[in-house]
């Protein structure tokens, strides 16, 4: 009896399904992808597929952290991909060593030099993304626009803005210190992992050691009740969207640094979808409420483990979309299963009712 209870508690845990999914994919790799777990040491750096998962997945993990908080408030942020493109374009334009009024030659453009100090580039990049997040937050919390639509606007217009910043060009970056964020190593591990860890710890301390996390969950579960209990739901929403913008900006910085270029059309393409997938896999309901940052980060890792193991098997990148769709389908079915278990376990059917909420419902 006791065993059964503890098993159902494990199954109820947010981490259970996402860890199961990860274990299944890793088990598959152990059998069918030779050398997936091999990690080599070269020049004091660790190399291998598992390290690649962490390094390539870093932008998605960051975006997923921000997205978790937004989804927990009952909203959604579709603009993350566009914000990544905006911040990447911002960084690339500031680095661009060509002075604005002189004839731009290839020799100037490909110089390993910069117009702006690195610190200012980073600050400006992050500020651009945070500003976008703030804009989303203002639209949702102050103008009372449904989150789906409010962020859709920036999703459409944001890629235009990114191209406006970079003047429609794909800017290649030749400034080496900038590459440190995406390609550098500290103590043998990629820098991006440390950045993710720092942001995750910051977010965790913010939401679990202060009341903010409780407020976020309260807003997501019932924003009216939250309002009547004296919590400013508006400011909580504003904070969540701004933080999501900040995370996306950081992700854009790492991504552009990793691929050495800024492309308004393709930087962060489909990231909104992947991030939502990661968050949903991590057990956060799209209708808002309880959330787990760690589970979302693991969700992002699962997505990248899956992606890289498919690459290792020789599946072309584009055809992978269908594979990811199957992944989403599995998650959906697992969840409906979870709901059935819950329903059977509870004698009061009304207890599960509040979850049947429409997406993007405006909060009164």
């Amino acid at each position: 009896m006791n065993n059964r209870i503890s098993f159902s508690r494990i199954r109820e845990s947010r981490l259970f399904w996402v860890l199961t999914a990860w274990a299944v994919i890793l088990g598959f790799n152990a059998l069918f992808v030779p050398g997936f777990f091999r990690i080599n040491v070269q020049d004091g750096h660790l190399y291998g597929n598992l390290i690649d998962v962490l390094n390539n997945g870093a932008p998605l993990m960051l975006v997923a952290i921000g997205m978790t908080l937004v989804i927990a408030t009952g909203g959604i942020d579709l603009s993350v991909g566009a914000v990544m493109a905006i911040s990447a374009a911002m960084g690339a334009v500031l680095i661009n060593p060509a002075p604005g009024d002189k004839l731009v030659s290839n020799e100037i453009l490909t110089r390993n030099a910069t117009n702006t100090p690195l610190a200012i580039i980073v600050i400006a990049t992050l500020a651009a993304g945070t500003l976008c997040g703030l804009w989303n937050g203002l639209l949702v919390s102050r103008a009372k626009i449904q989150p789906l639509v409010a962020t859709l606007i920036l999703m459409v217009a944001g890629r235009g803005i990114a191209q406006l910043i970079s003047n429609g060009q794909i800017i290649t970056i030749y400034y080496t210190p900038y590459f440190w964020f995406g390609n550098g190593y500290i103590l043998g591990l990629p820098v991006s992992i440390y950045i993710v860890a720092a942001v995750a710890i910051l977010a965790w301390v913010g939401v679990r050691k202060t009341p903010i996390g409780l407020f976020i969950e309260a807003v997501g579960l019932n924003s009216k009740a939250t309002y009547y209990s004296g919590i400013s739901a508006k400011n909580i929403q504003l904070l969540a969207y701004t933080f999501s913008g900040f995370c996306s900006a950081l992700a854009g910085l790492i991504l552009s640094s990793y691929v050495h270029s800024a492309d308004g059309n393709n930087n962060g393409l489909n990231y909104e979808l992947d991030a939502i997938l990661a968050v949903v896999m991590g057990g956060t309901m799209l209708s808002g409420g309880r959330f787990s940052l760690l589970a979302s980060v693991i969700g992002a890792i699962v997505i990248w483990t899956f992606t890289l193991s498919m690459y290792a098997l020789g599946v072309p990148a584009n055809a992978l979309l269908a594979g990811r769709a199957v992944l989403v389908l599995l998650v959906i079915l697992l969840y409906s299963d979870r709901r059935l278990i819950k329903r059977r376990g509870k004698s009061n059917p009304a207890a599960v009712q509040p979850q049947d909420e429409k997406p993007g419902l405006p909060h009164p």
Binding site: L152, G160, L164, L273, A319, A325, R339, L361
Partner: protein, 326 residues
């Protein structure tokens, strides 16, 4: 009397605003670029954006029920890729076209069933549909496939000259969108199905309590959207004479923006397909103004669409507030 007039203006306010903005945009465009004064320029809006209109009609019904369908672009791309591959295998186009429509409807039906029976949010299910359809299109072919079928070529290249305008022409697939629009208006206003769609969008629980077949209608709405996406895919593949998984990326956002501009509320229950037509015409006008200008770059289209969507949402909430007061 004045009270009634006021109410009717308020009810149709968003639609009237949409039409006014379209006319204003077109007149401004025609003043700036005399080439836009030719009737042909107007018909080009339909020729170039016919597929958008078809997608918009399906999307309007889905949004009216309070759902959303993000899979439209994927199903469109899958249709183009699959029909190109089948035609190149030598299958008759008269078989391919119905087959594609059945395929699109089936995908929509499947998504609708997932949404209804598993109670998952439409947003995440149709997102999966988008991934799945695009992925399947890439599995069919990683590169663009040219269509050489004679019937497709005939449909693509035969202009129909219009009776009342000198030298104005359209193509046969251009007629599909407007024809579907007529059917959609009939469906929305004069059938049981259409009225139930509005009832669900206003309040799903009330609709269920009134004994309406809520589940069946919701599934049918997604099937309708799948059908429209496949139809749009056929029109698209005829106009480009090619099939490719990368066609129409991001079109779902254009369609949603057009539906919103047309006065349909994303919470469901309010709006109509006529508005969607004008929403799409506004987008088409902006695109053609930018094309006539030539120096303005394509990314301005996106910024304009975003800003317009924002303005329209503002207008909508303004009208909604007024309506509540009166």
């Amino acid at each position: 009397m004045t009270q009634r007039l006021k109410l009717s203006v308020l009810r149709h306010g968003p639609l009237l605003t949409t039409i006014t903005i379209f006319l204003l945009a077109y007149i401004i465009g025609a003043q700036l670029y005399p080439a836009m004064q030719r009737p042909q320029a107007f018909f080009n809006l339909f020729i170039n954006n016919g597929f958008l209109l078809i997608l918009g009609i399906g999307m309007t019904f889905v949004i009216l029920t309070g759902g959303i369908d993000l899979s439209v672009g994927g199903v469109l791309a899958l249709t183009t890729a699959a029909s190109a591959a089948l035609l190149n295998l030598g299958v008759s186009p008269l078989v391919v076209m119905p087959l594609m429509l059945v395929m699109g409807t089936t995908i929509g039906l499947g998504l609708g069933c997932l949404i209804h029976f598993f109670k998952v949010q439409p947003f995440i299910v149709t997102l999966m549909g988008l991934f799945l359809a695009r992925g399947l299109a890439y599995i069919i072919s990683l590169t663009s496939v040219t269509i050489t079928d004679p019937l497709y070529k005939y449909l693509a290249l035969t202009p129909i000259y219009l009776p009342f305008f000198a030298k104005a022409y359209i193509y046969i697939p251009t007629l599909v969108g407007p024809a579907l629009l007529v059917v959609a208006v009939y469906l929305a206003y004069f059938t049981r199905f259409g009225r139930i769609v509005y009832a669900i969008g206003n309040n799903e629980q009330s609709a269920a309590l009134m004994g309406f077949p809520v589940g069946r209608t919701k599934i049918l709405v997604y099937a309708l959207s799948g059908f429209c996406s496949a139809l749009a895919g056929i029109v698209f593949s005829i106009s480009l004479l090619a099939g490719y998984g990368q066609f129409a990326t991001g079109v779902e956002l254009d369609v949603i923006a057009a539906v919103v501009m047309g006065g349909t509320l994303l919470t469901g229950g309010v709006g109509n397909v006529i508005g969607t037509l004008f929403g799409i015409l506004i987008e088409a006008t902006i695109i053609s103004i930018l094309q006539y200008n030539g120096t303005l770059s394509s990314w301005w289209t996106r910024i304009c669409v975003g800003v317009l969507t924002l303005i329209f949402i503002g207008i909508q909430s303004g009208f909604a507030l007024r309506k509540k007061k009166s």
